[in-house]
């Protein structure tokens, strides 16, 4: 693979791509300011959280395979991520 020529491992190359995607979502949110609803901005922020969460998963799973507590924390983190994604692009009730 070409990325090896510049001293990047396969995982580092993937993480670079993931960070690029996160920057892309953040820039989309920035450039769409004032033109889209708050709900859309929140959805873009959640996409950043999803990409970041998945990137963390690729980094932490090797530890989770060896250390039971890390395995439990990964599963609980995933449940938190799923719960968050369950609120993806839905209308929120206004705070009282």
């Amino acid at each position: 693979m070409h990325f090896e020529a510049v001293g990047l491992s396969a995982r580092e190359a993937f993480l670079a791509a993931a960070v690029t995607a996160m920057v892309g979502c953040a820039l989309a949110s920035f450039f769409l300011a004032g033109r889209v609803s708050e709900r859309t901005h929140v959805a873009l922020a959640m996409l950043i959280a999803l990409i970041g969460g998945f990137s963390l998963l690729t980094l932490l799973v090797p530890a989770g395979r060896e250390i039971p507590l890390a395995g439990a924390l990964i599963v609980l983190g995933l449940v938190g991520l799923f719960k968050l994604m369950n609120q993806f692009e839905i209308r929120r009730r206004p705070r009282r």
């Binding site: 993937f14 993931a18 690729t58 799973v61 989770g64 039971p68 395995g71 993806f88």
Partner: protein, 372 residues
């Protein structure tokens, strides 16, 4: 359909039939068939050779599992009004999912196993959300209002069962998906007992609320309200240690979904077109919806992987990655489409199919002309 009850109005549900079709059809599709299958497999099919069952499940998938994914996509994209309500889900999310797919194709060893792990845990979590959602729909239909406490107890039971089952499946080696390996995590010894304790506490509390309701109402709670949770328990607790049963669980999840999605689709279409209600109309619309979703399912699970068959990867790997991606996309779309602000959406979840099949009876005070 994780939280699709939020828009259901509190109607006088006690006077309504609790079923979408009738007691045996609803009971079979919502969980009865899965429990019977589990009992049958447990009694007669405990061997390690699951190949015949995999073949059967694959054939059934064409008519049940694949269409259930297609039904979600169809529901989101069938109307521009729906896509306008959820632009990121409709137009942004597919790019992110395809990004993940391309990353898996690009690095099948460094990325794909983690994407499969994400899917491996998200899938039963999604099933849990549907169990809670369906329980709430039937509870509302039966007049058993689920408040904050009841929902907390139900969720504790359902999600703890998921946690117990998912960790148990990993420990028992369910780590193969389309010939690819899903990474196995290590878990502390206290995790399974802790999940069981939460599950038992949730079950006790919810049963207590149900018993209190029965005492106050002086009638029994229709068993269909508890059936989704009981089926969910069978899927994830005793069923988790039966490898042959694990293969067919997605079919039963899809059956639940298709029943409710079909009735809602019928209601929305027939109301939207303002056509006369008749069984002929119901049959025609059901057949049209079914045919479209079977075709859509084949396109999603066979057509999409074929588009990438030219890649230097085994076709099974391509199909597995695409299947996981379609699933993840479904988890997102399913989370939003049941929150669509259709004026008829909420009432559709309270309908019985017989109301669509026969012409509406004239309502006193509405159908009669008002005297001047």
């Amino acid at each position: 359909m994780p939280a699709f009850t939020t828009e259901i109005p509190a109607v006088a549900a006690a006077t309504r039939a609790p079923y979408f079709v009738n007691w045996w059809a609803d009971a079979s599709l919502i969980g009865g068939l899965s429990i019977i299958t589990w009992l049958g497999l447990r009694a007669f099919y405990t061997g390690a050779d699951t190949k015949p069952l995999v073949t059967t499940a694959l054939v059934l998938s064409l008519f049940v599992n694949f269409p259930h994914f297609s039904a979600t996509v169809y529901r989101l994209y069938q109307s521009p009004e729906h896509t306008r309500q959820f632009p990121v889900t409709a137009w942004g999310l597919p790019f992110i999912i395809f990004g993940a797919v391309f990353a898996c194709f690009w690095q099948p060893e460094a990325v794909a196993p983690y994407f499969l792990l994400l899917f491996f845990f998200w899938s039963p979590y999604h099933y849990s959300g549907q169990t809670v959602g369906i329980t709430m729909v039937y509870a509302r239909r039966c007049g058993f209002l689920i408040g904050r406490r009841e929902r907390l107890a139900l969720s504790a039971f359902v999600f703890a069962a998921f946690l117990y089952g998912a960790t148990h499946m990993q420990e028992n080696g369910l780590t193969d998906f389309y010939g690819m390996s899903v990474p196995i995590l290590a878990f502390p010894a206290w995790m399974a007992p802790a999940a069981q304790a939460v599950m038992c506490a949730g079950a006790l509390a919810f049963t207590g609320f149900a018993a209190a309701w029965c005492r106050a109402q002086k009638r029994l709670l229709p068993p269909i309200v508890l059936l989704p949770a009981v089926a969910h328990f069978v899927w994830f607790v005793p069923g988790a240690s039966l490898k042959s049963f694990l293969i067919v669980i997605p079919l039963f999840h899809s059956l639940q979904y298709l029943l409710i999605a079909l009735v809602v689709q019928l209601k929305l279409r027939i109301d939207a077109e303002g056509a006369e209600r008749s069984w002929r109309r119901v049959r025609a619309e059901a057949l049209r919806w079914g045919a479209r979703n079977i075709t859509g399912g084949v396109l999603l699970f066979v057509g999409l992987p074929l588009c990438f068959a030219w890649l230097p990867l085994p076709f099974l790997t391509i199909a597995g990655i695409m299947a996981a991606a379609v699933n993840v996309h479904h988890f997102f779309v399913d989370g939003v489409i049941w929150k669509l602000r259709d004026s008829s959406n909420s009432s559709a979840l309270m309908i019985n199919i017989a109301e669509l099949g026969r012409a509406a009876a004239p309502q006193p005070g509405l159908s009669r002309p008002v005297a001047a």
